[in-house]
Symmetry: C2
Subunit: 292 residues, 2 copies
């Protein structure tokens, strides 16, 4: 077992399993063939053929307002929710676009994002404490009722990044909700870069980017969950955190990568470790080109 | 002027300008059309057609030893050196492969690497000093006789990563040669990840990965160059380093990105800076797929 196993587990996708998802001529994601067939039930919303999935002509023109595409696709997604195909519904709108700064082509429910192979964004925070007995990290155990990774280990604070709120404000909000960290402590969280991965799931593809933050907490602070998303918090020596990431899959797959990035930035992984180059590059994964 | 300008300057390539370079059926790089035409002068070594460049059949079988491909291609490169097409000859062998861990298909002279659009690797070190007056960074000015970026600003220690030496050993060697840092100080250099970029040059493409190290130096230490590659060293407050990267192109293009990564990891770039997401992702660039 090694850090590289965690990276490989988060980057398992076979481009041959996917067809392009194209909006207004721009490839914004990809879908599995079975989901393409499902979408073909709504020819007034989706145009599906062997080359991939796009929107029906009336929705696909670049002149159609984003709200109209959002509404038409949203109605289909509601049916698929009722049919229990799309589960883990969140009632959060995520942008469909190719990059952070690009204006979205439409917004879709968060739970549907992997079905369309659209890039998802998140904010994760490494909360740590420095004491006489060394570096420790606060770890959360996810609630057993979470739709993804129930009961898995997680960062002290982590959340998806919806449309309509900035990274910093979202991080502050999650600090409050997930761990009861007051703003006068949370505001010292340092934005320290990102990790990316491309995970194939039963639903589709998650070509995600997670923005990482570090926050050094006072020794006197103890987290308190306020939104029911956390089962328990633990304060572990960094060596135990590293070992757990390396030797088990107790951490949710993407939380493990955020910790590997933290360990890397702290110089915990030796440059002459034979896995070092692949670990470094493995945290910057990009989707392989589709085979179309 | 902004950090993003530095990232854009290092990621300027047009995939339409390149043809694939394929060895034993595996795409390992890409070449400009004019260079493909040049290589066509040696049909006993290269097979060139509209689809791209590969090796002649006798060299292209996977059974041919790496040394034989290396020798045959090396003879062509020597002629191109004598014709002064390939300049900046280094007499260092670089591996031709798709990733760090893959066994090389052949080795080529370092100066030829961009001509074949093969990934190059380097090791760069941020040397810094913490004092009562804040964080300072040692900066090098490159010798005016360097084949690339003469007179530009650089990390205190930086070098290419040739075949046949590990990252750590190479970093230690460069610390000694470039800045006279003795091993008992240099060994504390922390490997802290990497940056990548895809630069189109007149010669070809540089889809490079740079492994970054941080080294905190004692206030009493002053660097001394021993290999003639450094014109001068400066100890600058981090604010001046940041400003110079942001507001000028005085730093060599890839050294600027290494400093942006350092600033990011130190939390110097605010998460609500509108450029933040593109800066973060811009340091993880990958080549766009070729248009073949």
């Amino acid at each position: 077992m090694s850090y590289l196993d965690r990276i490989r587990a988060a980057n398992n996708h076979d481009p041959g399993n996917f067809l392009p998802f194209v909006v207004t001529g721009v490839r914004v994601g990809c879908v599995k063939a079975a989901f393409a067939e499902t979408l073909a039930r709504w020819p007034e919303v989706f145009r599906v053929d062997a080359r991939g999935v796009t929107l029906a002509a009336e929705l696909n023109s670049s002149k159609v307002p984003v709200a109209e595409r959002t509404r038409a696709v949203g109605e289909v997604l509601q049916v698929l929710r009722e049919e229990q195909l799309i589960d883990g519904w969140r009632d959060e709108h995520y942008p469909v676009n190719r990059s952070w700064t690009e204006a979205p082509y439409l917004l879709i429910e968060r739970a549907a994002v992997p079905w369309f192979g659209v890039r998802g964004y998140g904010v994760h925070m490494n909360g740590f404490v420095r004491g006489a007995d060394g570096l420790k990290m606060w770890i959360a155990r996810r609630s057993l009722t979470k739709p993804t990774g129930p009961g898995k280990l997680d960062q002290m604070v982590a959340g998806g990044q919806p449309a309509g709120i900035g990274l910093y404000d979202n991080m502050m909000k999650e600090c409050e909700e997930e761990a009861g960290i007051p703003l006068d402590i949370a505001k010292h969280a340092r934005p320290v870069g990102a990790i990316s991965y491309v995970l194939e799931t039963k639903a589709g593809l998650r070509p995600d980017l997670i923005f990482n933050f570090d926050l050094e907490l006072p020794q006197s602070f103890s987290p308190v969950n306020t939104d029911g998303e956390v089962e328990a918090f633990y304060l572990w020596p960094i060596e135990r955190v590293a070992e757990t990431v390396r030797d088990s899959d107790d951490f949710k797959f993407n939380c493990a990568l955020v910790i590997i990035d933290f360990l890397l930035r702290q110089g915990h992984i030796a440059a002459d470790d034979p896995h070092y180059p692949d670990i470094v590059e493995g945290l910057m994964a990009r989707p392989a080109p589709l085979s179309d």
